[in-house]
Symmetry: C2
Subunit: 272 residues, 2 copies
Amino acid sequence: MYGYFNGSILPVEQIAFGITDLGLLRGFGLFDYFRTYNGRPFQWDWYWERFANSAAKMHLPVPINKEEAHRVVLELIDKCNLPDIAVRFVMTGGYSPDSISVVRPNLLMMAEEIHPTPPNQYEEGIKVILDEYVREMAEVKSTDYKRVILLAQAIRSARASDVLYHKNGEISELSRSNFFLFKGDRLITPNRHILHGITRRTVMHLAQNDFQVEEGPVTLSDLYDADEAFTTSSTKKVLPIVQISDLTIGDGKPGQRTRFLLDEFNELIKNW
Amino acid sequence: MYGYFNGSILPVEQIAFGITDLGLLRGFGLFDYFRTYNGRPFQWDWYWERFANSAAKMHLPVPINKEEAHRVVLELIDKCNLPDIAVRFVMTGGYSPDSISVVRPNLLMMAEEIHPTPPNQYEEGIKVILDEYVREMAEVKSTDYKRVILLAQAIRSARASDVLYHKNGEISELSRSNFFLFKGDRLITPNRHILHGITRRTVMHLAQNDFQVEEGPVTLSDLYDADEAFTTSSTKKVLPIVQISDLTIGDGKPGQRTRFLLDEFNELIKNW
């Protein structure tokens, strides 16, 4: 696999960050992650927009413009010579003379193999566990994922796949993906303390012809009368959630409306 | 300068982190930082204890024991050939096959030049600005310093040196150092939502013969009748604070009790 680092494209094994980098020393970094379908970057415009917004909110100038970045992405796709790849952008505060001051960001764009979600998770749905937490600067795709890494053992012990964050009674998101629930034909998704997912946005567009789509607060008590629930991300697409801690959603099987949205999504990417 | 990385001692320019490191990709890292006086590591036992505690709280096994780590530190001191150095330990979640799972930590121990606090700051005292914030896992010396890097411009604009964090009316700490205030001969320092500084601990020991030392909640309103204030860290030692946002502390000059503690601290390190 290949990556771009501060102007050069190299095999990923040859790319490394020096030890004064502020992403490493101070957790000062942001990223984005998207994949290709049929060899074409999925929703490129939206991903670039989000990446640029995250960078602006962290006061970091992006050292490359959209057109150049797009050319780099196409070159990575070409060099990797696989049907499809994922691309991860990582931008940090760069090398610092005093381990705190920002001088010039470091920008990495690396190709990665896709780790597809196991098919049985779509058939059976997943379990998640509740965690009282809200991500700092949730709307920025910062590199801060300490919380879910610390919870890895708790997730495994519960035979769950992920955590669902809530705070003050309000649900926000899973550790790396968004949350939706159905009450009848109402499709509801939290509107704050979240990272605005591109798959979330895509699914909301797809859903609007068939369902009443609502962005707004989702409380813990909303879970009790939810008929279906699912999560969205670029790797998970539309993945049914059938259990949330001790609570079974609906009849404990993936719901029909969720399957319908997954089919719609699969149709979209087939022709991307 | 030299550093130790996963078993080898090398010039720092030759040390680099591969791009699947979880410190870089996920902000999953912790560190510690101490300096030498007269060529000897200052309060080594206490620093090691804190580093090991931080690691345990982040569920990371330290891949070296205390005695080996001490030998490495002495070798770094020897190789750097300077009167005194600082040493930074950085431990991350290590290289990850899927950018989220921890396999084996990466451990860096690097020598750094000391950046001493400018003498005029001891003579005049510093200004800090208030910021409503509390560090996540404040008691762990994690690498998460996004907040203060984002505030760099605000600090400069206010002609201040740092921020003082408070939340729900309660003061915790500066961005990278602890907070103390004097009311008469009572020396008071916050006891929670803080990183337990080694210089803080040293100063509390030094102070107990001459002052009434109290660890406990410090509220914003406590600032109004404080006679003196100062901050402690391994690089700042005992540094007077004379202004906190718009509030002048005492008569706006470093206080006599603070100077006394700085003298005591300087006496201790002279003979370390």
